[in-house]
């Protein structure tokens, strides 16, 4: 044993949180699927699976947009505001400016990235906590959107956008889910195999040490926020497709909890320096599964929230005790 044993308590498996932790969570999701589909046949009907997949896709991307900032040890309370700004910008470009779809989408994404950059820039230049800056900018961005659009939704978008949102691949799957997975793969590569990803994680885990080692910490934080804005905008675009309209009421504070839920359940630390890309996806899947399962089971109208909370609690505890059990067993072998 080393002299630094105590560190063990606080340390964590590798920088992409340990595969075993994610298998545990995945197993819990699988068990829930088994239970729900046995108890309620409607759970696995095409329309329900399609619905689950589509909600999941958006939640995953919202989770990613928070995760990339959590990796730096910060947080982004403005994900929802950036999302809705991008949504309304796209709506404007499509409906009022008559731009073709790809240009309008690119415009929305670009705006999201720009707003994210603004957050990052302000955080690095002022040295103020990301929490406070993004709290203020959430209000600023949302406010600017309201001033410019007067909160009037754009609901005469080209029909192919709504059709894309309703499209079913093989009767079960929404193309949005593939987009979310593709983003997941890209992020996985980013954090696992690229210079930038590594620098982000190093800066998140120990900014002073990273700075001393020649990591441009400030630049890395700005890039992470830009990426967060881009991802929030992407989630916004997905909602535009899903709803067939661009509305001022999407995003905002509503995204805040889901944005933390996926990454944190999946094993991303709030302290920074670790990301769980696959975990975020599984974490989001856990919540979506429980929610959908309870709906299908027709659990009492107003009591549903209670059961959602209890099952969530049971799931995280089961995962936790599985981890402890494995640890004990590996010691027993010794």
């Amino acid at each position: 044993m080393t002299d630094e044993t105590i560190i063990k308590e606080r340390s964590r498996p590798g920088f992409i949180a340990g595969a075993s932790a994610q298998i545990g969570l995945l197993a819990i999701v699988a068990v829930l699927w088994l239970v729900f589909s046995t108890l309620a046949p409607g759970f696995t009907s095409p329309i329900n699976l399609f619905g689950i997949g589509r909600s999941l896709a958006v939640d995953i991307v919202i989770g990613f947009s928070q995760m990339v900032v959590l990796a730096t040890g910060g947080m982004n309370l403005a994900v929802g505001s950036i999302g809705v700004c991008a949504v309304m910008a796209t709506g404007f470009l499509l409906q009022d400016a008559g731009m073709p779809v790809p240009i309008a989408l690119a415009g929305g994404l670009l705006l999201g990235a720009a707003l994210g950059w603004l957050n990052g820039f302000a955080i690095v230049k002022t040295g103020v906590n990301a929490f406070i800056i993004t709290l203020a900018s959430a209000s600023l961005f949302l406010g600017a959107m309201l001033i410019l659009t007067k909160a009037v939704p754009y609901n005469a978008l080209p029909p192919e956008i709504g059709q894309f949102g309703r499209m079913r691949i093989g009767g079960y799957v929404s193309p949005l889910l593939f987009i979310a997975i593709a983003i997941g793969v890209a992020l996985f590569i980013l954090y696992r195999h690229t210079l930038l990803g590594r620098q982000i994680l190093a800066a998140g885990a120990n900014p002073r040490a990273a700075e001393m080692s020649g990591v441009p910490v400030g630049r890395v934080i700005i890039i992470s926020h830009t990426l967060s804005g881009l991802l929030a905008a992407t989630a916004g675009m997905m909602l535009v497709a899903r709803l067939g309209a661009a509305m001022p009421s999407v995003g905002g504070e509503d995204w805040l909890l889901p944005s933390f839920l996926g990454p944190v359940l999946g094993g991303t630390l709030l302290a920074g320096g670790s990301v769980a890309v696959i975990g975020t996806m599984i974490g989001a899947a856990l919540v979506t599964t429980i929610r959908s399962g309870l709906l299908v089971l027709q659990v009492g109208n107003f009591w549903l929230q209670l059961f959602l909370g209890l099952i969530l609690l049971a799931a995280v505890m089961a995962d936790r005790y599985r981890g402890i059990f494995l640890e004990r067993r590996s010691m027993g072998r010794k």
């Binding site: 080393t2 040490a209 080692s213």
Partner: protein, 510 residues
């Protein structure tokens, strides 16, 4: 108090940390606990202080078996400790930290004046310069260490465990500490003293217990019959390899020159020249401002005057990123955990962090194979003991952590390395190895600015030694590798400056 550890064992996942280890502590003795890093000293201390529970064996106090479920129990049983990790609350005042678990509440509420008076009593035993009302986070590393010791003393326990109390304090304070420990011993206290510095052990300990690989290599042997060589062979299992390298000549070109540098920390008129391939020592008492100067050089803190020249050209360094990537200056911080390493990341990531830029190919993709093959040679060359380079650095021993820290900078190919306290808390074998390595680095053409409070280390490594006092350079001593003459020259220089002016508080370090 008669504290007795009998056949205690402790296993962690993958490691048998302690295997039937014993230790008996008598009243009125200073008992040295020695061993290389990873030998199990700290684990043993954590068991005695109730932080870990042993898998087997027993602990008795005055013949009665005791069970500690938490540090609380151990304190109640009369055992106080200075742990190796920093254990202070950064935002609390010095006084509150010292009396943390038993703050005085005369009428249900804290009495701040009483706290500071009480804390003052213990702090004065060691250092009068630290204000008990200051927040701990504003102290220097050495000052924090002194607060830690005062905190342990304040428990007034009959048994005191000290895990490397002198690791980051200077000789001056060490002397005060030793005088105090001796007095406590003479009053009947039992003290366990852990240190890697043999000189200290020989100076202060009455008996010694040695651990090697989690087992007893020696059990309570009297120091009177002990020789340096014997102690080393007990710990290491082989003889100490002593580096003895003649000082290098110094006619190479100047790579780093400071001209009248002033900083926000209060340095002024700091001028020196570092030549290619030399080891330039920077010695000073705690609070002299050595680390702060280093931080200013690499741009981690602003300079307020003067100029830096790198390879003869004026250099404006605004951050560490620029220092490394543009001027090839690296800084190995004394604060390994805060500034040196990313404890939660793997060895591979820690070493490669400085060279990712070089490794990255198209689209910024890093080839894992290339990364491993870049890192592996350093792991081998520095003999970093680990099952795999995927090991989390926080799980390594202090010595191996330091090797990782050095490996990182070797990999970075820095031309100028500022090495700050490279062997604090490092065991003898690793220390010797690191010394060899630093010589090797310099021989390879890298210039080293060495900061150390460890006089023997300074003498063994530096080619010449700058003396810093109160944020000024007050002299330079040539090093002829003769400990007595060099250390005398340095200390008398410092004392001369000290006497020339009214005594200043040494606590003004920002």
């Amino acid at each position: 108090m008669q504290l007795s550890i009998e056949g205690v064992s402790k296993a962690f996942p993958g490691v048998q940390a302690l295997d039937k280890v014993s230790l008996d502590l008598r009243p009125g003795e200073i008992h040295a606990l020695m061993g290389e890093n990873g030998a199990g000293k700290s684990t043993l201390i954590k068991i005695i202080t109730g932080l870990y529970r042993p898998d087997g064996g027993r602990i008795t106090i005055d013949g009665k078996e005791v069970f500690f479920n938490s540090p609380r129990d151990a304190i109640a049983a009369g055992i106080g400790a200075v742990h190796q990790e920093r254990n202070l609350i950064p935002r609390f005042s010095v006084g509150e930290n010292i009396l943390l678990e038993r703050l005085p509440t005369p009428n249900g509420l804290l009495d701040r004046d009483a706290i500071h008076q009480e804390a003052r009593r213990y702090l004065d035993l060691l250092d009068r310069g630290i204000d008990t009302r200051r927040e701990v986070r504003s102290l220097s590393v050495a000052q924090m260490q002194i607060v830690e010791i005062a905190k342990a003393l304040s428990l007034e326990t009959r048994c005191l465990l000290m895990d490397e109390p002198t690791a980051s304090i200077t000789e001056h304070e060490t002397e005060a500490l030793f005088a105090l420990l001796k007095r406590l011993r003479d009053e009947g206290a039992s003290i366990v003293f852990v240190s890697h510095k043999l000189e200290e052990v020989f100076e202060i300990a009455d008996r010694v217990t040695v651990l090697r690989d989690g087992k007893n290599a020696a059990l309570g042997e009297p120091m009177s019959g002990m020789t340096r060589q014997k102690l080393i062979s007990l710990m290491v299992g082989r003889d100490e390899h002593i580096v003895d390298k003649p000082p290098r000549s110094r006619d190479t070109e100047v790579v780093l020159e400071a001209r009248n540098v002033a900083t926000v920390f209060g340095h002024s008129e700091v001028s020196f020249a570092l030549r290619r391939g030399e080891i330039l020592g920077l010695y000073g008492l705690v609070g002299a401002g050595r680390s702060e100067l280093a931080r200013s050089i690499v741009g981690a803190a602003p300079m307020t005057g003067g100029a830096l020249l790198v390879n003869g050209k004026s250099a404006a360094i605004s951050n560490a990123y620029q220092a490394l990537n543009q001027y090839r200056i690296g800084y190995i911080s004394e604060d390994r955990k805060q500034e040196g390493l990313i404890l939660a990341h793997t060895i591979r990531e820690n070493i490669a962090v400085t060279i990712w830029r070089r490794l990255a190919g198209m689209l910024g993709l890093i080839n894992p194979a290339a990364e491993r093959s870049a890192v592996n040679p350093y792991v081998e060359r520095l003999e970093i003991r680990t099952p795999s380079i995927e090991q989390i650095v926080g799980n390594l021993s202090g010595g191996n952590q330091q090797k990782v820290s050095v490996a990182k900078w070797l990999a970075a190919n820095a031309e100028i390395l500022i090495i700050d306290e490279p062997t604090v808390g490092i065991d003898i074998k690793t220390k010797a190895y690191l010394h060899e390595l630093i010589h090797e680095i310099a021989d390879g053409g890298t210039s080293v600015l060495l900061i150390s409070s460890d006089m023997p280390e300074m003498v063994a490594l530096a080619d010449r030694i700058l003396i810093m006092h109160n944020k000024r350079l007050v002299g330079e001593v040539a090093n002829d590798r003769r400990y007595d003459t060099v250390s005398n020259a340095i200390m008398s220089r410092i004392h001369a400056v000290e006497e020339a002016r009214p005594p200043a508080h040494t606590s003004q370090t920002a």
